[in-house]
């Protein structure tokens, strides 16, 4: 299937008082349509920065990317029209009611007033928020709040949904619900989902394919199975061990000598699957 997101050498350097900081050194990535991609990496690896570039919030300082055929640099408005984004912190005002937030969001996507009201009800029904429309966002539980954040991002039926650590801070039940929701979005609407996570069990259970970033580059990519086989040593390897092997922060006989401090070894450069 065609790539709905493709990035080549996507990079971002921040100028700080202490000199330039290469937050993202060069991301090469292709995400297929209808795929759930898990974007993993240690803290500070450049996950959120990459996400913020792909959603037009941050201008890349190098490389290029397209989202559903729209070039990031040349057509940011086109990218915005086809993608939804849920930041780690969410994005609703706790003082405002669920209904008002959903309707205003619809209006920001240029729906008419009545269309926005209808869409808000649709989204509330689809994301199981129907009973809370008149409640203030701040009065929702963690799981309900997350569903509201996602409902906001789905207002314009985006082709691509970017989720930044969507289940951080949720209880196990809410996490399971959210996984079901993500799968349903893909199955029923064909939405491509690009999600970052720190939970390896989440990546294992939810993602069709993983991209592991380290030091601002994609260190490895493939299905969870393939990665376990290639980097963890066997199919029975845990994703935890695989992850540590790839990012050079754990025991792995083949990688340990080559990795620390040095350039990425041949084993951990991007691999086409």
């Amino acid at each position: 299937m065609a790539a709905v997101i493709s990035a080549a050498g996507l990079a971002r350097t921040f100028q700080t008082k202490a000199g330039p900081v290469e937050a993202v050194r060069g991301i090469d990535l292709a995400v297929r349509e209808g795929e759930i991609l898990g974007f993993l990496g240690p803290n500070g690896a450049g996950k959120t920065t990459t996400l913020r570039m792909l959603t037009t919030l941050l201008r890349p300082t190098g490389g290029a990317a397209t989202v559903a055929g729209h070039d990031l640099a040349a057509d940011p408005a086109g990218v915005r029209a086809v993608s939804g984004y849920v930041a780690q912190s969410g994005g609703v005002d706790p003082q405002i009611s669920v209904r008002e937030e959903l309707v205003t969001q619809g209006r920001m996507y240029r729906l008419s007033k009545s269309e926005a009201v209808t869409r808000a009800q649709e989204l509330a029904r689809e994301l199981d928020l129907g009973g809370f429309l008149d409640r203030k966002a701040g009065a929702l539980s963690g799981g309900q709040r997350r569903r509201l954040d996602i409902a906001m991002a789905l207002t314009h039926r985006p082709k691509v949904l970017f989720l930044d650590e969507p289940t951080t801070g949720l209880d196990p039940g809410s996490r399971a619900d959210l996984w079901d929701l993500v799968r349903r979005l893909r199955d029923e609407h064909g939405t491509t989902v690009f999600l970052t996570t720190h939970y390896l069990d989440e990546a294992d259970a939810l993602a069709d394919r993983l991209a592991i970033v380290d030091r601002g580059e994609v260190a490895a990519e493939g299905t969870p199975h393939a990665l376990k086989l290639r980097h963890g040593g066997s199919l029975d390897a845990t994703l935890q061990d695989t992850f540590l092997a790839i990012t050079g922060r754990g025991p792995s006989p083949s990688l340990e000598q080559t990795r620390p401090g040095g350039p990425p070894s041949a084993d951990s450069t991007p691999v086409a699957v």
Binding site: T56, R80, R107, M108
Partner: protein, 249 residues
């Protein structure tokens, strides 16, 4: 589209202001205290120019309202940044100019409302001024708060914590108030202070509103005041919109 988006965001933020009625009235408290406890001191002093001391003081208090109120508007955007609201809006197709205008027009509305309250109180205290002059005063308050709020949002988008923001604003607002002759006209000042005050843009606004309050509309002060107010607004709105377009912090 710009109009649609601006109206949408203006409505959102105006409702936000209406929800906190206390804050809405609180802003007018400081100038009101000046009016009550400082104004009476001036009634017998020779302030120069024509008209009563109230016609000198009230224009100053009106602009003080803007200076101390609107300059702090950026605090709200720091809160919204933390909630993720700013980024959530920035990934929608909503106009970047509207992201700023919706906010600052709300601020201008709130401060003009407070200015009306202040002028009503001043009328009770003894202010007499031509109606047209009073309305010109409100127009200047609107333009000034629009500019200062834009500046404040731009700054709020740039700083990381409210702790950085407060001192920065105080550093701007205190000298601006003293040097622009908000409390007493700079014509009373020694030459060096008078010269210095001409480098503070608010000086021109105060002079213009003071002229308006004594019914002098076609003066050099009025011309300079209007030019500075419009120029300052154009500059700050441009800067503010740029920040909403590119903010990476």
């Amino acid at each position: 589209m710009l109009l649609h988006d601006t109206a949408l965001l203006y409505g959102r933020y105006l409702r936000q202001s209406l929800r906190s009625r206390f804050a809405l009235l609180f802003g007018v408290l400081t100038p009101l205290l000046y009016l009550l406890f400082f104004g009476p001191l001036l009634t017998r002093l020779p302030l120069g120019g024509t008209g009563s001391s109230w016609q000198v003081l009230v224009p100053g208090l009106l602009l003080q309202l803007g200076l101390f109120g609107a300059l702090f508007a950026g605090f709200m955007v720091i809160v919204e940044k933390g909630q993720g609201v700013v980024e959530r809006m920035r990934v929608t197709p909503v106009s970047r100019l509207a992201l700023l205008l919706g906010r600052v027009l709300r601020d201008a509305t709130v401060f003009v409302f407070q200015a009306v309250l202040l002028v009503l109180a001043a009328l009770v205290m003894g202010l007499r001024a031509p109606l047209a002059g009073i309305f010109i005063g409100f127009a200047f308050v609107a333009l000034l708060t629009l500019s200062l709020a834009s500046l404040s949002y731009a700054l709020g988008m740039r700083v990381r914590t409210p702790q950085e923001f407060g001192p920065l604003i105080n550093m701007v607002s205190m000298p601006s108030m003293l040097l622009s002759g908000l409390m007493l006209p700079m014509t009373l000042a020694p030459a060096w202070l008078d010269v210095l005050s001409h480098f503070v843009p608010f000086r021109y606004l105060v002079d213009a509103v003071r002229d308006a309050y004594v019914g002098h509309y076609a003066t050099a002060h009025m011309l300079y005041g209007a030019l500075v107010a419009v120029g300052f607004a154009a500059l700050t709105v441009t800067v503010g919109t740029r920040v909403f377009r590119t903010a990476g912090a």
